[in-house]
């Protein structure tokens, strides 16, 4: 095994290290609490590995430069928080439609608007899926610990490159700012780097958006001899705009299809003490940390409670949730917002079991004690206690 070192590290810093380990070579962005340490870390680390950091004039330009650098063949990313994430929405649509790999970290804070910049929240869950106009598909992942910040950033980069899609790393202030033990390889050289599929045909034959059964078209670096055209307009497999209705339908079907056909590769959930559970918590990101403790406390009282922790937030783990609804007698969704993910949970459960919401939106994570009380209340309501 490769040599490692143990450290106390902040979640945001672990994202930086994950990005460097994944081979990210460009960062463009604008500072904003509570994500700023990611920009600061990239400013320091990227030039060390020959990469480049740019502090852009705003968040829109941040993602713009990332898209440009990605067209130039670099793995590229940006990070922001709510207000900046809102500003990036138009540009996210371009990355979706033109299929430009990139990673966007959103370290959530309390919203709306300037809100409460330094307090934890998970208020952007729905926005990561629906924030830009028009039907579109992105991948959203959410880490719950500092070590997971490191590994999931790598995975985010890999998914972006593999599926030519913007991947959003949805963090919260809890995970972004806390410092935790992490064991990192001393050198990242041995960490495998996922490369986007590049064309192998002669340049004359290259059709920029023609895909094989994977539904993911090969992508040529600008300047590599394959001259192609990128467009935010609806286009056909040549990449040139096409006004025909069939082009729109085909394009949408492929963009959705390239994600959904690979759902099993993309969707990750962690199951914690679910095997014999009759009641399940669904929680993710920093909010899930409370759940581990609450479940252990509940089990100590003899309650058969477990957790499904979605690591992939979007695409929604529909089958997993639907199956869960069949295996338990009640579900409690815990979110640090007024209730967002729960809507999709309900739509997937379709009445198979009761779905409760423990919504917390007062600048603080729930304590295990509070959550235990919620579990007991819900289980009582469902006749399980």
């Amino acid at each position: 095994m490769a040599k490692t070192k143990v450290m106390l590290m902040q979640g945001n810093t672990a994202v930086v290290e994950g990005a460097i380990a994944a081979g990210v070579k460009f960062y463009g962005g604008y500072p904003i609490t509570p994500s700023t340490e990611i920009a600061e870390g990239m400013a320091k680390r990227l030039p060390m590995v020959g990469g480049k950091f740019m502090q852009t004039e705003d968040e829109i330009a941040g993602l713009g430069t990332v898209i440009g650098a990605s067209l130039g063949g670099l793995k590229a990313m940006t990070a922001t928080s709510g207000p900046g994430f809102s500003l990036k929405q138009e540009m996210i649509g371009l990355a979706c439609n033109a299929e430009v790999p990139c990673v966007i970290v959103d370290v959530q804070r309390v919203g709306p608007s300037t809100g409460q910049p330094t307090s934890p929240s998970q208020g952007d869950v729905m926005q990561t899926k629906w924030g830009t106009h028009g039907d579109h598909w992105v991948i959203v992942v959410s880490p719950s610990s500092v070590p997971e910040c490191f590994t999931l950033t790598q995975r985010a980069v890999a998914l972006a490159e593999k599926y030519r899609v913007p991947v959003i790393m949805l963090m919260d202030e809890i995970v972004g700012h806390m410092r935790e033990r992490i064991e990192l390889p001393v050198s990242y050289d041995d960490i495998p780097k996922v490369e986007r599929k590049r064309p192998t045909c002669p340049p004359e034959e290259f059709l920029a958006y023609a895909a094989d059964e994977s539904k993911v078209p090969a992508m040529a670096d600008f300047g590599s001899g394959y001259r192609w055209h990128v467009s935010g307009l609806v286009h056909d497999e040549t990449g040139f705009p096409k006004g025909a209705g069939s082009a729109t339908r085909e394009s949408q079907d492929r963009l959705r299809g390239k994600i959904m056909a690979h759902r099993d590769d993309i969707i990750q959930v962690e199951r914690y003490k679910l095997d014999d559970a009759e009641f399940a918590i669904i929680a993710f990101g920093g909010a899930a940390r409370t759940a581990y403790d609450a479940i252990d406390m509940a089990r100590a009282r003899g309650l058969r409670v477990g957790m499904m922790r979605p690591i992939t937030i979007w695409p929604f783990a529909r089958h997993e949730v639907s199956d869960l609804a069949k295996s338990v007698k009640g579900i409690l969704v815990h979110e640090l917002n007024c209730g967002q993910y729960v809507i999709s949970v309900k739509a997937a459960v379709e009445g198979r079991c009761p779905v409760h919401l423990y919504a917390k939106y007062d600048n603080e994570s729930a304590t295990p004690e509070d959550m235990l009380a919620e579990i007991e209340r819900a289980m009582k309501e469902d006749g399980l206690l």
Binding site: K25, F26, G28, K44, P47, M48, G50, K52, M54, T56, E57, D58, I60, A61, G62, G64, T65, V66, I67, G68, A69, S70, L71, G72, G73, L74, A76, E90, M91, G93, L94, A98, D221, F222, G223, S224, G225, R227, W228, H229, V230, S231, G232, L233, F240, P241
Partner: protein, 275 residues
């Protein structure tokens, strides 16, 4: 434009372009292509990035590395590309609205950084694509669909603005002054640093019609009669200048390190610090 250049640089099957009869965009795009040919650049080493607008459609026609991005944001995307590929010649095609209205901030910041991009502004003094609204480069006193009572807003001198922001090469020509336009774009591409070339051009459909100068040729004749070479301009009195505008190379400086070059220093410092 020469037929051989159409053959060499235009994508097959994409002409006729979708611009209106007499639209100046074709001429300006021709000048860009001719400039690139004059410079003997390898097509693989050229990128043409555009925003959204009639003029921004130009990227689709030519056989380079091209992108028709989102309205106003061609410059950041071009900036990212240039950072990734400092060896490439990155040209940006942008409309007056695209680069001075919604994209104004990116313009001044690209200029400030002095990154080696060549921005060609297709200035038809109007939003062509959306049907004739005024732009920050529409002079006061004209009609636009959003100025039915005539425009009242002062317009930018976009070259003066870019220069004040830090652009190290500013120049202007018109779609009438084709050889001048071509040579200025050529110089702009050759210039290491941020260069902006304003191409005054006509939108007969959406500027001309509303303002009763619909005939494309007359718009060009107007350009011919109102553009004044800088050398002459410099000697004119304010009264003589009234209603006219200077063309030619308006400013150039070479004392500011180009941005990607400056960035190489950062990498050296960082790697030195580590070693």
């Amino acid at each position: 434009m020469k037929e051989a250049l159409v053959e060499k640089y235009f994508r097959k099957g994409h002409l006729p372009h979708l611009w209106c009869p007499g639209c100046g965009n074709g001429t300006v795009l021709g000048a860009i292509v001719t400039a690139i040919d004059n410079l003997k650049l390898d097509k693989n080493d050229v990128a043409l990035i555009s925003g959204i607008g009639c003029s921004s459609r130009s990227s689709g026609y030519v056989d380079f590395n091209t992108a028709n991005t989102v309205h106003g944001r061609a410059l950041p995307i071009a900036t990212g590309l240039k950072m990734a590929r400092p060896d490439m010649n990155v040209v940006v095609a942008s409309g007056d609205g695209d680069c001075s209205a919604i994209g104004g901030n990116h313009l001044i910041h690209a200029a400030r950084r002095n990154i080696d991009l060549t921005l060609v502004v297709f200035n038809n003094s109007i939003y062509g694509m959306t049907g004739g609204q005024y732009s920050p480069l529409t002079p006061p006193g004209f009609k636009a669909t959003t100025a039915p009572y005539l425009t009242i807003e002062p317009m930018f001198d976009i070259l003066e603005l870019a220069r004040a922001a830090g652009a190290t090469f500013t120049a202007r020509a018109t779609s009438y002054h084709v050889p001048l336009l071509t040579s200025l774009i050529e110089k702009g591409i050759a210039h290491k640093g941020f260069s902006i070339i304003e191409a005054v051009t006509g939108c007969p459909t959406n500027f001309g019609r509303q303002n009763k100068i619909a005939a494309p040729a007359l718009m060009m004749a107007w350009q011919r009669d109102h553009g004044v070479m800088k050398a002459k301009w410099d000697k004119m009195t304010p009264e003589e200048r009234e209603g006219k505008f200077p063309i030619g190379l308006l400013s150039e400086r070479n004392d500011v390190t180009e941005y990607t070059k400056a960035y190489d220093e950062i990498i050296k410092r960082a790697q030195g610090a580590e070693a």
